[in-house]
């Protein structure tokens, strides 16, 4: 994976940059010591790392605007950062950039239950948004597995999803408004506590723009009343095909579970060894969760049970109480941790039409054999969002490259069957060069023209999302190279 060469002219002006940043930020908010900037050298795509020139941790929107004005003036690229949990390298710095972290901006600014929204600073973690309101019976729906660590800032930039978005939607469906600072240092308020845009839906294109259009400092989020209760059921099958067919039947039957999670055998084995959740050893496991009152839950679970039984499950286990529910989720929730224990892994997240599940799982199995690397699958089956985890050993020369090549094949397969490269993790640097598989040059050009509008100098997270070749001319704009 290539990154652009750092601009020596910018690097040579580090002292001046630091001095100017100190004028708009408190001392401890400017990090320029090369030992300390290492803390910002990578995100959760740890295969790639590069300490930034400087990292800054502003505490207010005004400070963010001050930093951006200086960087704009000096032609210094800026990489916004939330908690650094991106799996796509979205927050990966270059040696000539300023990392702008919002981790000190964690306040809840307004909570309004009557109108069902919360306004927060975007450095706040996803889980602590729900934490601020759950005592009053509300929650914030999008729940990435990384929710303990990841920030609303990163969630908005990546349009993150989670296990429960089958019912509640992803970030973009739960985002009502933002305060955002452009690369030029202009503060914009977009959307608010009302619904939908009166004019063009700018909020819609900002969400998911991977930190390339502006730095989001505040967010107005839709909050929802907690359901009366929720209960998962665990269903085991002796083939992936049958499990896939069962998913499709559940959806068609009009039951709308809040989550349908799928694990294949390699994943079940790893999770079981790691978390000892008591999973049956079989080819495919589904965790289906439904919500409502006790009677409503019972009714839905009865319907799901009836459908599942038509597919001869090897296991059908309803959670009798909260403890059992916890155990059912335990294995799934520790899947990534379990994988991390046995191996290095690369987590893909292509989405496919649900109808293509059996085909895609079979092809992944074949590809895994061809490349000689194991692949475990754990994913959000209700919406076709795959998470193939390719296991490799980073210390064996060549394995990372083999892993990336296999990953690319799997993602191409997702696109071929009518799906896409990434369902929730974003493009970042990881899938940047595969964008041409999904989009024509004209389609990419249309997207880059949107960046031209918000950031004409291409200083904000410039080396992400678009193939470097496609964005090259734009990244060489006068201000970006002048410095």
């Amino acid at each position: 994976m290539d990154m652009p060469q750092p601009n020596p002219a910018i690097v040579s002006r580090k002292a001046e940059l630091v001095e100017r940043l100190h004028r708009v930020l408190p001392d401890r908010a400017v990090i320029s010591d090369p030992m300390e900037t290492r803390a910002y050298e990578c995100d959760a795509l740890t295969a790639y790392a590069c300490p930034p020139l400087v990292a800054v941790l502003p505490a207010t929107t005004e400070e963010v605007a001050g930093v951006l004005r200086i960087c704009h003036d000096m032609g210094v690229p800026v990489v916004p950062r939330g908690s650094g949990t991106s799996l796509a390298g979205g927050a990966l710095p270059t040696a000539d950039c300023v990392v702008l972290g919002v981790s000190r901006m964690t306040e809840v600014l307004e909570t309004d239950y009557d109108n069902r929204f919360i306004r927060v600073q975007t450095g706040r973690t996803n889980l602590s948004v729900t934490g601020a309101i759950e005592g009053d019976g509300f929650f914030y729906a999008p729940d990435p597995s990384s929710q303990l660590a990841c920030a609303i800032a990163g969630n908005i930039a990546m349009n993150s999803g989670g296990a429960h978005c089958l019912k509640y939607g992803v970030t973009t469906n739960n985002l009502l408004g933002v305060r955002m600072v452009t690369m030029q240092g202009e503060v914009l308020d977009i959307g608010g506590a009302h619904l939908d845009a009166g004019g063009l839906d700018l909020l819609g294109v900002i969400c998911g723009s991977e930190g390339q259009l502006g730095v989001v400092t505040e967010a107005t989020l839709r909050i929802l009343p907690k359901p009366e209760g929720a209960r998962p059921v665990l269903i085991g099958f002796d083939s992936n095909e049958v499990a896939g067919a069962c998913v499709s039947d559940i959806i068609r039957a009009g039951v709308l579970p809040v989550a349908i999670e799928f694990m294949d055998r390699p994943c079940i084995e790893a999770c079981e060894a790691f978390a000892k959740a008591g999973y049956p050893m079989c080819e495919a496991l589904l965790i289906v969760e439904v919500e409502g009152s006790p009677q409503e839950i019972a009714h839905q679970l009865r319907l799901i049970g009836d459908i599942a039984r038509r597919h001869n499950p090897v296991e059908l286990r309803e959670a009798a109480d909260a403890d059992e529910a916890g155990r059912i989720w335990l294995g799934r929730k520790s899947a990534f941790g379990a994988m991390g224990q046995i191996n290095d892994y690369m987590c893909l997240d292509g989405t496919i039409p649900v109808s293509q599940l059996p085909l895609v799982l079979r092809r992944i199995g074949e590809l895994s054999g061809e490349y000689g690397l194991r692949v475990a699958n754990v994913f959000h089956a209700g919406d076709g969002n795959m998470h193939p985890l390719i296991l490799f050993d980073a210390n064996t020369p060549g394995q990372l490259e083999t892993c990336e090549a296999l990953g690319a094949e799997i993602l191409k397969l997702c696109v071929e069957v009518g799906g896409c490269l990434t369902g929730e993790h974003g493009v970042g640097i990881e899938k940047r060069d595969l964008m041409t598989v999904q989009y024509s040059p004209a389609d990419l050009e249309a997207q880059m023209r949107v960046k031209d509008v918000f950031d004409p100098d291409w200083l904000l997270n410039p080396a992400k999302v678009f193939p470097l070749g496609a964005s090259e001319a734009r990244r060489q704009t006068p201000r970006a190279s002048a410095a």
Partner: protein, 384 residues
């Protein structure tokens, strides 16, 4: 009138255009604006391209009549979740509303509060930009963050960025049963409080509307619950109990109020005939009653609340310009937007159809339009 038969024809027509184009689906919108330039009809691009009920997805050509889409869904026991309704009753124009027109206006009905707006269900688009270039964004899968989300940007853009040629969207199973709790006699403020209490409950309310002029003259508040029959019974009862401080709620299972509700309540019955003007207003629900006290206090109009108060629909036969100016100013001050949906041409030609944006946002929108349509030929003036 240009009537291309397929996407390629349409792209050619745009590329060849020498002046402004007036993009039209079924033409049921009829804002009242005097058309500018040549009409470009998308009605020739029809047909459902793909329908996978088990994956809850459909793909259709943009000119496909809404009625055809709904019939195909009905046959599989499914529906368009966001509940678009035809405004024929308001605009007085008959014709076939098209699926492209629905997404181009982000048209959403009562269920918006539960499942999201048209923009939330739109998964992918094909469109022709102002250069005549065919572009694609999104896809047909439920989750997709590959590149920028131009799907959301195109939803509701009313032809100003491009002409939609194909749309892919999510559908949902039709609920087995519908029930509602009806409250009568509430003031606007009480009704919005009652709707907030309902929306803040765990009973998964799928519609909350209030008609101050009521169905039979008495202010009426309707709360809808959908799902499996037993569950609907349970939830309507719980909801009625929860709302008892607002009066004795009546439980009903008839779907009629909601079928009427597609063109909702007394509003649609009264609103007929030429000469009327209609606005859709989007504000924070809690702001709505005070806003309407000021507007309706000073100007003769009919109105009702949808989306638990978050959307107000206003209709006026007279005093339209004064009402319009007051409404735009009030809404700008509290946050939100007021769209002029339909009006006699003297008003529709004189004012922006959409709420003017603060200068920095207006500048961004303007530059976006210039990127997608450098010649400024697509629906000039329709989006502010």
């Amino acid at each position: 009138m240009l009537t291309p038969k397929d996407e390629r024809d349409l792209a050619q027509a745009v590329a060849d255009a020498k002046g402004p184009l007036w993009v039209q689906g079924g033409g049921t919108r009829a804002s009242g604006r005097t058309p500018q330039g040549e009409v470009l009809s998308v009605a020739g691009l029809t047909g459902i391209t793909l329908y996978e009920p088990g994956a809850l997805t459909m793909v259709a050509q943009a000119g496909t009549p809404l009625a055809e889409i709904e019939a195909a869904l009905e046959a599989e026991g499914q529906m368009l979740p966001f509940e678009p309704y035809s405004l024929g009753g308001v605009t007085g124009v008959s014709g076939d509303t098209t699926i492209g027109g629905v997404f181009a206006t982000n048209a959403s009905g009562a269920r918006r509060v539960q499942v999201g707006a048209a923009r939330d269900l739109l998964l992918g688009v094909r469109f022709v930009d102002g250069r005549g270039e065919v572009l694609r964004n999104g896809g047909r899968v439920m989750k997709n963050v590959t590149g920028y989300d131009l799907v959301k940007l195109l939803a509701g853009s009313r032809g100003a960025l491009g002409v939609l040629t194909e749309v892919a969207f999510k559908v949902l199973p039709k609920p087995e049963a519908v029930g509602h709790v009806t409250l009568t006699g509430l003031t606007d403020a009480e009704a919005v409080q009652a709707m907030a209490a309902a929306m803040g409950s765990p009973f998964d309310v799928s519609g909350a509307v209030h008609a101050p002029a009521g169905i039979e003259e008495e202010p009426t508040t309707l709360l809808r619950v959908e799902g499996f029959a037993d569950s609907v019974t349970y939830r309507t009862e719980r909801l009625r109990d929860l709302l008892s401080r607002f009066g004795a709620g009546q439980i009903g299972t008839s779907v009629e109020p909601w079928q009427a509700g597609r063109a909702l309540s007394a509003f649609s019955q009264t609103v007929r005939g030429p000469g009327g003007a209609t606005w859709f207003v989007s504000v924070k629900p809690g702001d709505a009653p005070a806003l309407m006290a000021r507007i309706a206090g000073a100007h003769d109009c009919l109105y009702d609340y949808d989306w638990a108060g978050g959307r107000i629909r206003i209709h006026a036969m007279a005093d339209q310009r004064a009402l319009h100016d007051a409404l735009r100013a009030e809404v700008a001050a509290i946050g939100g937007h007021a769209t002029l949906i339909h009006a006699p041409s003297d008003l529709a030609d004189a004012v922006p159809l959409t709420q003017p944006e603060p200068a920095p946002l207006a500048a961004l929108s303007e530059r976006l339009r210039a990127q997608f349509d450098p010649r400024g030929i697509l629906n000039p003036g329709v989006m502010g």
